[in-house]
Symmetry: C2
Subunit: 358 residues, 2 copies
């Protein structure tokens, strides 16, 4: 592999699906959701630190998380933390990183990754990344990593590829956003649909050319900052640029339009940790399918996720399928399957107790 590998970690999300643990002030990527002692962001950094050096790892995040990033990833230099003044979805985030990296290292390969997913088979993951990097270093390809689906999930985007035996880099046929259940079932049966992991690999050259072709406006916005990146004018340039910039995803701006889109299928114990239920599935369970964090005793209780503080004893009796999250000034007890109700919890908690809870 001839090119330098740069990794761009997108860490600006402010989801509250793990509320009350994840709050606006400290969303999921900054939490040790999996219980390893490292946050999801730190685990993402560690994973890519295997294939490149810390000086080539970049984090794009919202301004308000600047100090959290510095605290959790002291390995990063000041210039490696790209601060967004406003939320603008993934396309501007990626354009900013691509043009900034291009100024320093125009021959680079670039990996873009979310910061809040879990990957349990690192070796298999790195093999998939290696396959994609090899291809991206030689070809003008925009590559995504696709996950082999194991259920007809309706919450994910799907990627259909053109089957070609013997080649691990597959040409993409279609992207489909969150399908209905019967469609998702057909996708699962067909065997040539993958989940969209949100991990992208390409050369700087390829992605810059793609912006120029498919979103000229965004391309010229971020190209006009080439004098400012890595200077003290970068911040004010970005503030101005983001205020003009469209709110658009990379899938919609580029991937669904480009002809040179490829996917590498992977099977490496991936979870987007999109709900407590998803987290429950990947955590170590006791003989009654309970996941317990902290100090708890269960009686006639199955399939619960109980998360408390070790200094507090939780006794659970006759519970099935519940999440018990005892954290600070909130105790949440709810059916963990029913993640759609979390929006109500948070709105109601806010109404009752004010912003500090959310």
């Amino acid at each position: 592999m001839s090119k330098n590998i740069h990794v761009v970690i997108m860490a600006g999300g402010s989801g509250t699906r793990f509320w009350p643990y994840s709050r606006e002030a400290k969303p999921k990527q900054f939490l040790d959701v999996v219980g390893t002692g490292r946050s999801l962001l730190q685990m993402t950094f560690d994973r890519f630190n295997e294939i490149t050096t810390p000086d080539k790892i970049w984090v794009v995040t919202n301004e308000k998380y600047d100090s959290l990033i510095k605290e959790q990833l002291p390995e990063l230099g000041h210039d490696q933390i790209l601060l967004e003044p406003e939320k603008r979805n993934t396309a501007p985030c990626i354009a900013y990183a691509a043009y900034k990296i291009m100024k320093q290292d125009p021959d680079a390969s670039m990996i873009v990754t979310p910061s809040d997913h879990a990957i349990f088979k690192e070796k298999e993951f790195l093999e998939v990344i290696d396959t994609a990097l090899n291809d991206a270093s030689k070809e003008d390809h925009l590559i995504t990593i696709g996950i082999r689906p194991n259920r007809p999930e309706i919450g994910y985007g799907y990627i259909q590829y053109i089957s070609e035996p013997g080649n691990n880099v597959k040409k993409v046929k279609t992207f489909t956003e969150k399908p209905q259940l019967d469609l998702a079932k057909k996708f699962l049966e067909s065997g040539d649909f993958l989940w969209n992991s949100g991990i992208f690999i390409w050369s700087i050259d390829a992605i810059v050319r793609a912006f120029e072709t498919h979103d000229e406006e965004m391309a010229s916005l971020f190209a006009s900052g080439l004098n400012e990146y890595f200077t003290k004018e970068e911040k004010s340039f970005i503030k101005k640029t983001y205020s003009h910039c469209k709110n658009i995803s990379i899938d919609y701006a580029i991937m669904e339009k480009a002809e040179n889109v490829y996917v590498v299928p992977g099977d490496f114990g991936w979870s987007d940790l999109g709900s407590w239920n998803a987290l429950h599935e990947i955590r170590e369970q006791d003989e009654n399918e309970n996941v317990i964090e902290g100090s708890a005793i269960t009686y006639e209780s199955r399939n619960n996720f109980i998360k408390g503080d070790k200094d507090k004893l939780i006794l659970a009796h006759g519970m099935e399928g519940f999440l018990v999250a005892d954290f600070d000034d909130v105790l949440l007890i709810c059916k963990k399957e029913d993640s759609s109700i979390f929006k109500d919890f948070i709105a109601d908690a806010k109404a009752k107790k004010g912003d500090k809870l959310t």
Copy 2:
């Protein structure tokens, strides 16, 4: 009514059925279980303060609760708090109080009452007490207050009386301890069985004579202290006496043997508050039968008892028939019907965290 009315409140119990709120160090009678701002002990005091003066209200309790009594009932003089060095059931407790009061006021009428029950119709209650006091002041009767049963409860003692129209003071035929369910159902149908409330009314003369007749050993033990009561020797006398004394209930020692036992039936909103479920029934419920203490929001939840701190927001979703008790270093979530499991909770909590939790 010619005699002075003395009230003896038995407050030595150390039950943990309202654990984690009630603990060995602060059992139920010292807690504001009903949510009025006054503990059950204080409410018992208040109730009898309507018919006598504070200097004639006595509390018998375990030594370890001395300071709790003084704190909750500052109206009591030092001599009115009778401290038991060991647990010895109700007969020694009542004998101690009877002989001590006899020294001061041999013509007294005496009411004995538990400290941890709730009574919701005070006017009706005081009428029943008045009926019993009137009878006890004229006759050599040992009177209990019986509760009209409303369900075939198997956890209580029953009193069968001899029906005699027009007289509210009924002669007792039999005492039956905790019956089987089919027997309890027959008791309920027959109409001449009452629950034993544990409230007794008699003259000092009658109860002392009853001890002399039915438990001569206990009578002479406590009679031998007549020189010590109200002196600084009382404490050491009681210590010695209790170490010799049988562990026996007043029902077994006296009431089931004596011929002159009567009962006044009452219907005054009585509850022994023997379980969270019993407490749930008497508390104000919302439209979904939830009782909420503290700060909680419920979703698709029915028939729960949720008790937390007002500074902590509890969100409950999809719960039915649960107790949620969030208190200090314990969070208990359990099916509230299943009060038999509380013993396990407490034993397990002790094993896990040590004595301080129980």
